[in-house]
């Protein structure tokens, strides 16, 4: 009945071109048009290069024929590349864990400093993150330098023998991690400090009354309340650290004996310096599927917790 009633209403016929106008006035159309510049930028700077890299990785050295996954097969057979995988994973995971732990510790310390003193400490602790990493790494390079190393000089004062920071593979790996942690920990600190400030004070009071010690308050209140921010910062830092180039390039340039290369520096060496661009592309794409899967699960967890708790 209702349909019949509606059908009898006089229908105003749209004059020619009106439907196009109506389409242009729809909110979704306007929204699309307004975001178009951004979509173009992302398309041009992210999607196209990524697609092109995938395309390159499937070509032969002279980029004349399609060889499918051939580049990846050759890489996996190469002992040097297997070492690069180990070194990259070791570097990224160790550095991210240390950055997160030190960042959390610093944030916790800062959080308990009264507000007026907190600002200057926060400012000072952020300095490593603000200096361009290529420059600060150069400073570290000087400190690690075998002849004039200031770090060794200090060690010698305490009767500890000099350390071959960049000359011996394991020490070189540790040096790279130290610089990366020094550079990246302030980012974690500032994110965790913001997260700590957002935990309601009454939850700690309720936990204190419930019988929690300060360690248990950290374990059962602080950490669960910060789980989302910890997941996101760790994921973000993992991606950035896997892609790290400048610190390795400046500090060790992959040496000694190619033992400190990470994906980015090795991709540069293979693709640009050795002129095998398709294989370089294959190196740089190697972690992409693994990181994409990790990102998917982490973000899904964050989303679920947001829905349930926030």
């Amino acid at each position: 009945m209702a349909d019949g009633g509606a059908a009898t209403l006089p229908r105003i016929e749209a004059p020619g071109g009106a439907s196009l106008k109506r389409f242009a006035r729809r909110r979704s159309t306007i929204a699309f048009l307004m975001t178009l510049p951004l979509i173009a930028v992302i398309g041009g700077l992210v999607v196209w290069p990524a697609g092109y890299a995938i395309h390159l990785a499937t070509l032969n050295r002279r980029m004349t024929s399609f060889i499918g996954l051939g580049n990846f097969e050759i890489l996996l057979e190469s002992e040097t590349f297997r070492m690069v995988i180990f070194q990259s994973v070791f570097f990224a995971i160790t550095a991210v864990i240390l950055k997160a732990a030190i960042g959390f510790w610093l944030a916790h310390m800062l959080h308990h400093i009264p507000a007026n003193g907190q600002r200057k400490w926060r400012g000072m602790l952020l300095v490593p993150w603000v200096i361009p990493p290529a420059l600060s790494t150069l400073g570290w390079w000087w400190m690690f330098e075998p002849t004039y190393s200031s770090i060794n000089w200090i060690l010698n004062i305490f009767a500890i023998p000099s350390v071959p920071w960049l000359g011996e593979p394991w020490w070189a790996r540790i040096s790279v991690i130290i610089v990366n942690v020094w550079y990246g920990a302030p980012f974690f600190m500032i994110m965790y400090l913001a997260a700590l400030k957002s935990v309601p004070e009454q939850l700690y009071e309720a936990a204190a009354i419930d019988g929690a010690t300060s360690w248990q308050r950290l374990r059962y209140v602080t950490l669960p309340m910060m789980r989302n921010i910890i997941s996101i910062t760790v994921l973000f830092s993992l991606i950035v650290t896997f892609a790290n180039y400048d610190i390795v390039r400046v500090l060790t340039n992959g040496g000694p004996r190619d033992l400190t290369h990470v994906f980015a520096s090795y991709a540069f060496q293979v693709g640009i310096l050795a002129g095998n661009i398709p294989r370089g592309a294959a190196v740089s794409l190697f972690m992409f599927p693994i990181l994409a899967i990790i990102a998917f699960f982490v973000l899904r967890g964050v989303n679920r917790r947001n829905k349930e708790e926030a």
Binding site: P200, Q202, L203, E205, A206, A207, A208, I209, D210, G211, A212, T213, Q216, Y220, V221, P224, M225, R227, R305, E308, E309, A310
Partner: protein, 366 residues
Amino acid sequence: MAQVSLRKVIKAYEGGVQAVKGIDLEIADHEFVVLVGPSGCGKSTTLRMIAGLEEISGGDIAIGGTIVNDIPPRDRDIAMVFQNYALYPHMSVYDNMAFGLTLRKFPKAEIDKRVKEAARILDITPLLERKPKALSGGQRQRVAMGRAIVRDPKVFLFDEPLSNLDAKLRVQMRTEIKKVHQTVKTTTIYVTHDQVEAMTLADRVVVMNHGVIEQVGPPQELYHHPATKFVAGFIGSPAMNFIPARIEEASGALNVVMNNGTTLAVPEDRVARYRPHAGKQVLFGIRPEHLTDDKTMDKSNLAPLSLTPEVIEPMGMETLAHFRHEGTEITARLDPSTPAEVGKPLALIAHMNQMHIIDPTTDKVI
């Protein structure tokens, strides 16, 4: 179960500001005591000092005979319900309630028994698996109470637990809290700024103002025999009228004479008490419910007077009439059938048996 004693308890902040100025209070075992007062009166600070969340600057607090000044909250065997519930958002209702027992390493079966029993008392059994986000305000408040009940502590502390609820739910939860206390009988200290909550819940009400206790007593005593002008004005709604007047002696009897000349006879049994103030300026205090057109409730010592209403508020079961007399607001409670009209003089009766006289120099009720 335990008694709680506060002896000369002081809370001073940096710069010498005292939030609590040396209060003394004895709370008996099983008692339900409500601390009430306006914001900033020190009631919440007092509660937080009892909880151990706030350090005390002076005096002693004892729970169950043990001085707890330097004992951390977790060892005081207390449970607290917060205004904004303070439920752990990442834990289910069950885990929220079980948390305190888990930390104290209770056996699993015992925890389960206590949580289910508390859930039954509070009628939240179907919610046990939910997260706090999926609960309404009233349900969250029940869970917060459940978290307190399962612990079976010596003392319950409530810090304005109903302030975040809407008016209807507040009345309902108030009854719930009273029922729970009648069931578990744990010593309870309850902080509120709402005098209705204080009156309905308390065995004894503690009225605080500016960091000191103005008066302690059962609700009825505070209502009928307030000790100070503050208590007289704070307890009761609408608030007591304070009308500037003089006490004058005329042939052996005393009268309250309002500034416009209206003369109200003081009951004989109060003449001796008020005589020393004869000839002095005082405040004549009378509650709106005792300034009325209703002659039925108390036939003795009625004093007639006439005032002209400025605003009439029909409430259904009663009508409130507001007057302005020599710059003072006066409210009377009328029978809804009374034909009161704005701007038309209205005959009222003051029930002088319920009158109060306040010395304006000390603000004490005489």
